[in-house]
């Protein structure tokens, strides 16, 4: 835990440096308007750096949450992580229904090692349920994709 927390402290220190550098371009004080838009961010960048040093000095004890083993060795964790990132990246191109279905199928089949039939059934049920609840019942406009356009043509979905 100590080494890990120190790593977070170093990351925070880098974040503070970058934030402070970007904030230094903003005006801190204006003779007409008083405190400028850069004042608070610059103070915060300095305070973040101090707190980061504090964390590195006193990182705390205890075990890592989720266990000491590296999550990258867990196939299930990798499948969920890939699905999460995959959906976020593919959403503008494929829409929600196709990406959501593919992500669920990937997670169940390869991450959870479930049979193909069960994976397919749950993927279809889940995507249909979320689409009906959010899209049809609550009227949330969906990100555009081929499947969304088809369903929208029946008046069951609005496109965003």
């Amino acid at each position: 835990m100590r080494g890990y927390a120190r790593g977070v402290g170093i990351a925070a220190l880098i974040f503070a440096g970058l934030a402070g550098w970007e904030a230094s371009r903003l005006q801190t004080w204006s003779p007409f308007e008083g405190p400028g838009p850069g004042l608070v961010p610059q103070i915060l960048a300095v305070l973040i750096a101090i707190a980061a040093i504090g964390v590195m000095a006193a990182p705390g004890d205890g075990e890592l949450e989720g266990g000491e083993a590296s999550p990258l060795r867990s196939r299930c964790f990798l499948a969920y992580g890939a699905a999460m990132l995959g959906v976020a990246i593919a959403l503008p191109y494929l829409g929600f229904i196709v990406t959501g279905f593919a992500a669920t199928l990937l997670v169940l089949r390869f991450g959870e090692n479930r049979p193909m039939r069960e994976s397919l059934l749950w993927s279809v049920a889940l995507v249909a349920g979320v689409t009906l609840l959010f899209g049809t019942a609550l009227g949330v406009p969906f990100p555009e994709g081929a499947a969304e356009r088809l369903i929208a043509s029946f008046g069951l979905l609005r496109l965003g």
């Binding site: 835990m1 890990y4 927390a5 790593g7 977070v8 402290g9 925070a12 974040f15 934030a19 970007e22 204006s30 308007e33 008083g34 405190p35 400028g36 838009p37 004042l39 608070v40 915060l44 960048a45 305070l47 973040i48 707190a51 504090g54 964390v55 000095a57 006193a58 705390g60 890592l64 949450e65 989720g66 266990g67 867990s74 964790f77 969920y80 992580g81 999460m84 990132l85 959906v87 976020a88 990246i89 959403l91 503008p92 929600f96 959501g100 992500a103 669920t104 997670v107 169940l108 991450g111 479930r114 749950w122 889940l126 979320v130 959010f134 949330v140 406009p141 969906f142 990100p143 965003g160």
Partner: protein, 500 residues
Amino acid sequence: MMDGLLQGFGVLMTFQNLSLCLIGAVLGTLVGVLPGLGPATTIALLLPISLKLDPTGAIILLAGIYYGVAYGGTITSVLMRIPGEASSVVTCIDGYAMARKGRAGAALGIAAIGSFIAGTFGVLGVMLLSPPLAELVIAFGPWEYAALMLAGLSLIAFFAASGVAKAALMALVGLFLGSVGLDPITGTSRFTFGIPALVDGVNIAPLALGLFGLSELLFLALSGDKKPEILRPPSTLLGFMPNRTEWKRSAMPIARGSVLGFFVGLLPGGGAVLASFLSYAVEKRLTKYPEEFGKGAIEGVAGPESANNSGTAGAFIPLLTLGIPSNAVTALLLGALLVHGVQPGPMILERQPELYWGVIASMYLGNFILLVLNLPFVGFFVRALEVPRRFMATAILLVCVIGTWSTGLNHFDVLLAAAFGIVGFLLRRGGFDLGPLVLAYVLGPTLERSLRQALLISDGDLTQVVHHPIALGFLIVSAAVLLSGLVFRKRPAVVQDGGS
């Protein structure tokens, strides 16, 4: 006041609001039962849905979840020795021991009844204390507001289980995130890097859904799909009734827990978790049967369970009258109100009495619903634990994605949510509380505005604060709290509210 309450019940007695109160209470209980899924995660998941409702309906639904969680967490604590929620951790000790002795029904029964009494006491306290507090706060200027928020953030850092340095770092990062977007005073663009979606700042939906929802998903992926051992609850209502001796021994712990929990709930960083721990410590000290503590003492269930419910109610006072959340969950409630264009604070009673009194009325009804739900449907709630992890986790993923998209209708927010999910996972793994980050993010814009107004009035002279005794008092409290937190690092740790 009675007129206000009647108005509140008038607002509540619509089909929509009654349904939302019931849905919130049931969902809250379910969430409380499921280990891992805390109230913050659930409120984050439901935030996009609540945006489809009017502000009163939204806060009735989300508040229902918040106080429902405190009830639901008890069930798994007593029957499985697994706290469904952080505020029920302490109930595991004596609640589970009672269940092993065949008194599971009495433990669940006294917890439900104590929770009802304490919850009702807490709502009464909110009703009685909020108006005079709001009157007092109306006189606050920018110095006082800025200092009050700093004091609140300091207290949150002090109470955080992760220690002052880690909590302070999280709070500062949260404040920084709150400064992204157009500067509210000059209109200058800050940290937007030419991305149009960032002009309005980092939205609360990707932040909350990423930090709480998606990071939880990653932790679920890491945990095994184990079948928990569950002790069976009684099958009849009579089985939940404590015997005469148990009633007698529980009366004072319930009374003490109600009062203590309510006042602890008022503190920033306080809330249900701290209330339950303190109540347990008090009961252990005052009991006539110290040898039974840890082995099934009913006081160890009655006191903390009452305290966590009145603490939940108490946390609504700073939220509604000061506009200052006291933990991650109330920060998300504040975020939901702000998205609806409602600014909680001392003027809420005058400007939006229907919202204020509607929420109070819903809390009365919610407490009653929870009492009715808790005992007969324990078996049903326990069954929720049998839902395989894979179904829950994939549902969280898709709800997070569409929820994030629906609030801003842009792809960047979804990417941001995924990034916050990874950051949240890494931070939680290292023992960092995410509560202070979200809280500071929500408070950030108001804190900055107050501070800059104060500096503008005083022409940049910080020493002018000495002419504002209330503000000075708050600053002294902040400094004292932070210093004592750094000096006395070995104090007993308290888990931060919010399921984080």
